[in-house]
Amino acid sequence: MSTKASDSKPSFTPQDQVPLPPPDADVITTCCDYCIVACGYKVYRWPADGPNGGPKRKENALGLNFPLRPGQGGWVGPNQFTQANWNGKLHNIAVVPDHKARAVNVGGGHSIRGGCIAQKVYNPNKSTKDRLQQPMVRINGKLTPVSWDFALDIAAEVGKHAIRKHGESSWAMKYFSYQYFENTYALTKLAFKSINSVAVSHHDHPSFVNSVPGWVDIGYDIFGASYEDFAKADCLLIAGTDPFESKTVVWNTWILKGISGNKTKVIMINPRKTAGAAYVEQHGGLHLDVNPGSDTVVHMAIARVIIEFGWHDSDFIRDHVANQWETDSGFGQGTRNTPWQWRTTWGKFQVKGFEGSEKHWKEWLLSQEESKPEVAAKIAGIHVDKIYQAAEMMGKPKANGQRTKTSILIEKGHYWSNNYLNTASIGNLGAILGIGGRPGQVMTRLGGHQRGGQNGGKYPRWKSPYKVPGRRRHALDLDRWLQDGHVRFAYVVGTTWIQAMAGSHALEESIKRYTTDNPHQVTSSDKQAIIDTLKKRVDSGGMAIVNQDIYLRDPIGAKYADVVLPAATWGEEDFARANGERRVRLYGKFYDAPGDALPDWKIVSMLAKKMGYMGYDWKDSNEVFTESCRFSRGGRKDYNAIKVMAKKQGVKAHEYLRSKGTTGLQAPLLMFDGRLVQTKRLHDYNRKDIPDTGPEGLTVTNKRLLAFKTQTGKLNLVKTPWNLWSDFYEYMQPRGDELWVTNGRINEIWQSGFDDQERREYIRQRWPENFIEMHPEDASARGIESGDRVKVWSDRVPVVTSNNLGVKSGDMWFSGLMKDGHIMQDHGEFDAVVIVTPAIKQGVAFTEFLTMKQAGNNITPRVPDPVSQNYRFKIASGKIEKIGESPYKHSFSQMSLKRRDIV
């Protein structure tokens, strides 16, 4: 008698066959839509009724013999295959990492996110079938399909009314900073150039600000590196991120190449031992498991050890770090309206140079109690030896006397905790180690989203009413502006405003108050009646919301929007964008957008024309791209030369870029003698291919190409006084039985999970819900086991309330705001399934950063950094309590509860 195996089966049934593209399949080049790395992909498209390709090299469009050899790229797995309409006819579609890629994902590397991107494609028979396909207007509380004209007439009329009656900054825009040059250009042209509103912010900030303000002051560009630098370094310091988890191919293709080929030692600073951190520990590297928010003192202590051992790069400091004269003269032009001036006039940051007096940086650093390794180690909760080890790996010269080539790579776990001080203190480390502008010696953000922002107008910062002591003005804090009732019309484009912002619970209460709780609700399907009702709402202190997205997002679209507009996205239009090494590529259209969905630039053009603005008569995305080119001049992503080269060759700008395939062009792009010249890395002071005659014709040779991004072209060391942060940090420390609750990305989920966690069966099987990692000691103390469902909550989530005018020094620090009654303490909570693992530091819990239904941001503090207006998303604390068992505790079909740091 035969007996069967246990009858468990996975929630998602995998396939064991997949069709191959025939040799005559259409081939379209694109890149992954997700993380900043933007791997090159090829789309193979052929009629659904076949014929399919065969396993021999000449029988398929991939040009590969099947089965493939181990390690060989170009595999078409079941998740790389889907079907979609093209010109109204059903086609087979395979979206495959480009195995012939010569840049980025050389040889066809990919992440789990991009590897499954074929499943992003709209397919009426799959779980993408709920894509938004028609404009909708909320009538009697229900979203009702209408025509584009009907929806946009309402959006235009109500928007114009708000502007006319309540001022242009009552018209707000919350939008993605990244979703292709064509769309961000159109959106910002409308908001800044045509309307000139200051009430605008990106998807990830409350204000229109820079993420890495310390580097702005010191002089580092945020994306100065080339990926090959990561393989050339002797030591990489990676802070607040693990590229294994979130920048996969940077890890797989470039960092692993350095570890194996160059014996690169990798130091990771992260409260959590990720898979990458566990791996580097086994390969001569180091994991600094710091307490959340303690990074600055660790950087200061490492710098102190480097200086005390004399490992700093004296030649570099002499030549590339501003001395007393340069520091003074560079800024001796009176108070100017620059961030540096606002900050330095406080006297808290500026120094006279590297060393020489108590007003120089070295002497200042050595005088700080927090820079002593023992003190820093105590604050950070790490063994003091790790500080010495890190300093030695980064700074100690090699046996042959050569300097160690160190690079510093940071991301959100680093800069979204103690924003100004972390970025400034790690920038100082770079300056004294000679980092910047040389192969293997670079300073860069690793990045989150791709770099698809191109402004079509100037942010009118001078209009912001947020005044801080001295002659300083902050960018407008849109969440607070809304909370205080100043937003009357909100245009929300491609972002989950509410869950994506800190203190989400309090933000939702505000949005609810001004929309669904307002007495003026639409009850008629008559267009004019709808417009009149919404105008009344606007005039009564309420707000109308227009939400443009690819899916109906809950609650911003599903509960609060008055008008919902369906957008077309990746694969449904030709778009251009840059990645984390400034590489610009064309993302080709390969299938029909669903229903009436239109690309964002097109919706903006229709809306702007209805509002009476000129300059929106674009016929296609190429025209928007071509118009945007000149606005990129002099910037990090300067791609103006694409337009110029295309014109010379008599082709469209998009077509010229398309001809560069998945390699694309690395910006800033320059032109000399009619030749196009690319840029490998910024601050490249040894660069020889730029004529010393300076800019030629249309080329702008921005200072950051050959020097650092300051007035003198040299790096400014800055002071990083711990007391700028310590009052807030003290408030946020866990009290009683609270734990730190920090958050971040994991490999398998992109952003809010709109494509994968919510709609990709393979990923839903892995992550049906949000999770929270807890240390075994913390879990057992609360009677919690892996697979239990817990409530994570806090009754003291700080939310800053109305306060625009700081008069005295200290008014805007956390303790000043608290004292003056400008901090509200809100309740916030979310639930999650526990994974008990020693990979997370004791006293800290880690959760996914943006799960829509179980949003970790409900408990993150909504008190932006007082210097830079960045949220401190990674610093939360709360109580964790078991509420029951999840189904995943005993079932084998979904959600692995295994630890993620197994090496």
């Binding site: 069967k4 997949v18 089965p67 050899r69």
Partner: protein, 186 residues
Amino acid sequence: MLTQKAKDKYNQKGGCLMTRRTFLFSSTATVAGTVLLSSIPGLEGQAIAATVSRYPRQLIGKLSQLKTGVPVTFNYPDTGGNSGCMLVKLVEKAGGGLGPGEDVVAFNTICTHMGGDMKSVFKAEHSVLGQCPLHQSTFDLTRHGMIISGHATESLPQVLLELEGDDIYAVGMMGLIYGRYDNLKA
């Protein structure tokens, strides 16, 4: 897991007296192999061929000879490229597990990310395969080869097992082997 309703129906149909093979073909079971490409419109014709009946029945080991935590390698469904598999008695109960402890499972050991060979990176104490030597993906052998952490776009293909006396037979495979377009085309 089967729903209770499905379990009841399954028991009515013969319960444990059914062989694994009849179980796979019974209408209640949507175990891999029987549905496959039918979810993709336009390929229904091929779906008929894509059933477990396609797979060979192959003796791969004896239950009494398996040592807990010590994998035994074999090739399946053929000896062609990327057919390396392992049979192992885990330290814990597993989805699709065979034997009294429901802890005997078998998987293809080629990483479904880029084809790294993982036969030597089994972690018995965790019931985990990985990290893959190429790019560090890990797989949970208690949960049908589900990715734990990493880059693979498919679960590790699980070999469907059947026990006859002390003999363990491979009778099918759930999921596509890396580098192939059809498990049975080597």
